[in-house]
């Protein structure tokens, strides 16, 4: 069995998860990160995206994180999310329609301000869909 480490996931509103985990997969600013016990100290910003937690007993949980920070210490990993929800609480239809809406706005391209906002919305909606995809894969494995 792999070595485990302590992981704390908090959002601005509440504490989401706290416990021993074997592996954590997060969407960092520079790409996806897989973190296991004994990782070197690391500090990074998170993109909107899925956060996968592999528990000690091999169970997998997926969360959706709307940006934030990730800190890795030798025996402790903290995720400071702006907001976070359990992936199964996400609404797929809503995310899909948000994606289409953002895509449409992006294509119309009214002004620069609208453009960056629409781009951010699109990134968020795509991240939500990616989270749901991972959740499906996780539950399919079981």
């Amino acid at each position: 069995m792999a070595k485990s480490f302590h992981c704390e996931i908090v959002s601005a509103e509440q504490s989401i998860f706290s416990g021993e985990v074997n592996q954590l997969v997060a969407a960092g600013m520079m790409g996806d990160l897989g973190i296991m016990a004994g990782h070197t100290p690391l500090l990074t910003e998170l993109k909107p995206g899925p956060l996968r937690v592999l528990g000690e007993s091999g169970d997998e949980q997926v969360y959706y994180v709307n940006g934030g920070f990730l800190e890795v210490q030798p025996d402790l990993v903290s995720v400071l999310a702006d907001s976070a929800v359990r992936a199964r609480d996400l609404d797929e239809a809503e995310a899909e329609s948000a994606r289409k809406e953002a895509q449409r706005e992006l294509n119309e391209q009214k002004s620069d301000l609208d453009y960056s906002r629409a781009a951010a919305e699109l990134a968020e909606a795509v991240a939500k869909l990616r989270t749901l995809d991972q959740l499906r894969r996780a539950s399919g494995k079981r």
Binding site: H6, E8, V10, S11, A12, E13, Q14, S15, G28, M29, M30, T40, P41, L42, L43, T44, E45, F69, E71, Q73, P74, D75, L76, S78, L80
Partner: protein
């Protein structure tokens, strides 16, 4: 009978006041529960970010962020968190006393002070007291939102960034329990490494550093700004819970005092009425004896 009637109206007016204070007590009690829930909900984040920032302050990075460097103190800033409304006992007064004491200690050393007032009570106080007020924010309501505070916090951080302020404090009430609220002055920047949160710390080599993604400067800038914002937000939410608790206790005392006052006046009234009756009887009796 004139005295008795006066006492009766006085009792009536005290009874009315008592009704108001007891209603306010109950309102404050229910609001306090909600405010406490809000305070507890955002506590994990504030605590965790304090832990992370504590680690950052202890790291030995190649890039030193200005917030982690102690510089010579020429001017300090206070973010004073107060309530919007009064009738909360000594809550705000005790807080202002703590600020003034702390500010005076600095001034004796020749250090200037600036203030940011959150809550209308602090605004009023500093206009009277004559401190140098950089910004004021009031009307946050019962559910303060982090985004409402960003402006006032930014004023202070900008002043720190361009070197006008060398130290930044947040002053607010700490919620010890329903009966006790403690005014506290906490240093925000430069960061202080407190040992209270280090429960799982292991000794390790003196020089270690993080891997930063994307780069240290931008990342630390964001993280530390977020840290200050979250600490101020936590102070505001906690102060809101303190306000309701203090009001509840103040109103409970007022209701109890009104009860005591009514009891005393009732006694005086009864005596006055009895004296009037006795006098009347003796007048009738002496009148009858004369006939």
């Amino acid at each position: 009978m004139a005295a008795a009637k006066e006492i009766k109206t006085q009792i009536g007016s005290i009874k009315n006041t008592q009704k108001i204070t007891s209603a306010m007590e109950m309102v404050a009690a229910s609001k306090m529960r909600k405010a406490q829930e809000r305070m507890q909900a955002s506590q994990p984040y504030a605590k965790q970010i304090r832990k992370v920032v504590g680690h950052v302050a202890k790291a030995n990075p190649e890039y030193r962020h200005p917030y982690t460097l102690d510089r010579e103190v020429k001017r300090v800033g206070y973010i004073v968190v107060s309530s919007d409304r009064g009738l909360a006992g000594g809550l705000n007064v005790n807080l202002f006393k703590a600020v003034v004491k702390d500010a005076k200690a600095w001034r004796d050393k020749g250090v200037e002070t600036d203030f940011v007032a959150i809550g209308s009570k602090a605004g009023t106080f500093f206009r009277k007291y004559g401190g140098n007020l950089l910004a004021a924010k009031s009307g946050l309501g019962e559910a303060p939102e982090a985004k409402d505070l960003i402006g006032s916090v930014k004023v202070m951080l900008d002043a720190f960034d361009d070197g006008t302020l060398d130290r930044l404090y947040v002053v607010s009430n700490e919620f010890v329990n329903t009966m006790t609220q403690k005014p506290t002055v906490r240093q925000l920047v430069p960061l202080v490494t407190s040992d209270e949160d280090d429960d799982d710390e292991q000794p390790r080599p003196d020089s270690w550093d993080y891997l930063y993604e994307p780069d240290a400067q931008a990342l630390l800038d964001k993280l530390l700004k977020r840290y200050v914002e979250s600490q101020v937000y936590q102070a505001v939410v906690e102060n809101a819970a303190c306000e309701q608790a203090a009001r509840m206790i103040a109103m409970k005392n007022a209701t109890d005092n009104a009860g005591n006052l009514i009891d005393e006046l009732q006694l005086v009234y009864n005596k006055a009425r009895q004296a009037a009756i006795t006098q009347e009887i003796s007048e009738i009796v002496s009148g009858a004896a004369a006939v």
